[in-house]
C-alpha cells in the first residue's frame, strides 16, 4: 500500500537536509556558484531517493518520483514568488529541471534497492 504520510516524511527530510547543507555552505562562504548549486541539488534529490523506500517499501519508485516532483514544484513556487524569477516562461528550463531531478532520485532509489537486496541475500546466507 502506498502511504501518503511516508511520502510527506520523505519530502520533509529532504527539505531539512537542504536547509542544513545550504546553512553550512553559507557558513563556510563557498563562492563558486556552480559548485554550490550542484551540491545542493545532489544532496536534496539523493536524500529523496534514499529515504523514499524506507517509508514506502512496497512502492519505492513511485514514492521517490512523486517526492522529487513535489520538491521541484516547491522550487518553482519559491523562484516565482520569492526571488522573482519567471521560471514558467521558459519551457525548456522547466522540462530540464523536472527530468534531471526525477532521474537523479530514481537512479538513487535503484542503486539503494540493489544494495539493500544484496545485503539481505548475504545476511540470509
Amino acid at each position: 500500500m502506498f502511504s501518503l504520510k511516508g511520502l510527506f516524511s520523505t519530502v520533509g527530510i529532504s527539505l531539512i537536509s537542504t536547509l542544513v547543507v545550504s546553512f553550512l555552505i553559507g557558513l563556510l562562504q563557498i563562492n563558486y556558484e556552480f559548485l554550490v548549486v550542484s551540491i545542493i541539488f545532489l544532496v536534496t534529490y539523493v536524500v529523496t531517493g534514499i529515504t523514499a523506500p524506507i517509508w514506502n517499501p512496497k512502492t519505492p519508485y513511485f514514492s521517490s518520483y512523486l517526492a522529487s516532483i513535489i520538491l521541484t514544484l516547491f522550487n518553482f513556487f519559491a523562484a516565482n514568488y520569492v526571488l522573482g524569477v519567471n521560471v514558467l516562461f521558459n519551457p525548456d528550463g522547466v522540462n530540464n529541471s523536472l527530468v534531471i531531478s526525477t532521474t537523479t532520485s530514481l537512479i538513487t532509489t535503484f542503486i539503494f534497492l540493489q544494495i539493500t537486496k544484496r545485503n539481505q541475500v548475504t545476511n540470509d546466507d
Binding site: S3, L4, K5, L7, F8, S9, T10, V11, G12, I13, L15, I16, L19, F23, Y81, V82, L83, G84
Partner: protein, 212 residues
C-alpha cells in the same frame, strides 16, 4: 486542574524538555525569524504574509517532540532519548505541507466573512495533535471532529496562546528597555521566550484535546 496536570508533566519530564528546547526550539526559532527578516528585505508585494507564515510554522513544526513526550507520559510508557528527535524529523514534512495548505486557505479565503480563516487557523492548531494516527485521513478527520464539537471555543485557546505570548514578550522588553538593542538581540530573546513558553502550551493542548 488542567494547569496542575500541565505543571506535573512539565516537572516530570524537565530534563527531556530542556534538551529538546536547546537542540531544537532555539535553532529553529532563530532560523525562521531570520528567514522572516530576509523576506522583509526582499521587495515583494506583501511581505507580512510569508513572515506570519513563518511565525505560525515555528509553532506547529515544534509540536511533535513535545506531543511525543506528553503522550508517553500519559500512557506510562518509556522511550528512547533519540525518539523525540525522530518524531520531529518524521513529522516535519506532513506538518509543513498541511500548515502551508491551511494557511493559504485562511489567507486567501478571508473575504468570505473570515469563516475559512477561522476554520483554517483551528485546523492548524489542532492538526499536529493527531500525528500518531496511522494515516493522514484519520488524523485530519479527528481534527475536523474536534473543530465541529468545540467550534467557537477553540478561539479562546487561540486567544490564551496569543495573549500569553504578548504578556511574556512585553515583560521581557520592559526588562531590557535601557540597553542598546539590535535585531539579533530581539531574535535571541524571542527564541529564549519560545523555549520557555512553548512546552507549557503544547502540553496543555495535548491534555485538553487528546481524548483517547
Amino acid at each position: 486542574m488542567m494547569i496542575r496536570d500541565t505543571l506535573d508533566i512539565y516537572n516530570r519530564n524537565l530534563v527531556n524538555i530542556i534538551i529538546v528546547s536547546c537542540i531544537l526550539v532555539i535553532p529553529v526559532t532563530i532560523f525562521l525569524l531570520l528567514a522572516g527578516q530576509y523576506m522583509y528585505e526582499l521587495n515583494i508585494e506583501q511581505p507580512y504574509i510569508p513572515i506570519f507564515f513563518f511565525v505560525i510554522l515555528n509553532f506547529t513544526v515544534l509540536f511533535p517532540p513535545f506531543f511525543f513526550i506528553t503522550w508517553h507520559d500519559l500512557n506510562d510508557q518509556s522511550y528512547q532519548w533519540s525518539a523525540m528527535f525522530k518524531a520531529f524529523i518524521n513529522n516535519f514534512g506532513y506538518i509543513f505541507i498541511f500548515t502551508f495548505i491551511f494557511y493559504i486557505l485562511s489567507v486567501y479565503g478571508s473575504f468570505l466573512l473570515l469563516i475559512p480563516t477561522f476554520i483554517g487557523l483551528s485546523m492548524i492548531l489542532l492538526m499536529p495533535l493527531f500525528i500518531q494516527k496511522k494515516s493522514i485521513r484519520d488524523s485530519l478527520r479527528s481534527a475536523w471532529k474536534v473543530v465541529k464539537e468545540e467550534n467557537i471555543f477553540i478561539l479562546i485557546d487561540l486567544l490564551i496562546i496569543v495573549s500569553l505570548n504578548v504578556f511574556v514578550w512585553s515583560g521581557a522588553l520592559y526588562i531590557v528597555q535601557g540597553f542598546e538593542n539590535n535585531l539579533f538581540f530581539y531574535i535571541i530573546l524571542r527564541s529564549l521566550i519560545n523555549a520557555l513558553l512553548f512546552p507549557f502550551i503544547y502540553i496543555y493542548l495535548t491534555i485538553k484535546y487528546q481524548q483517547d
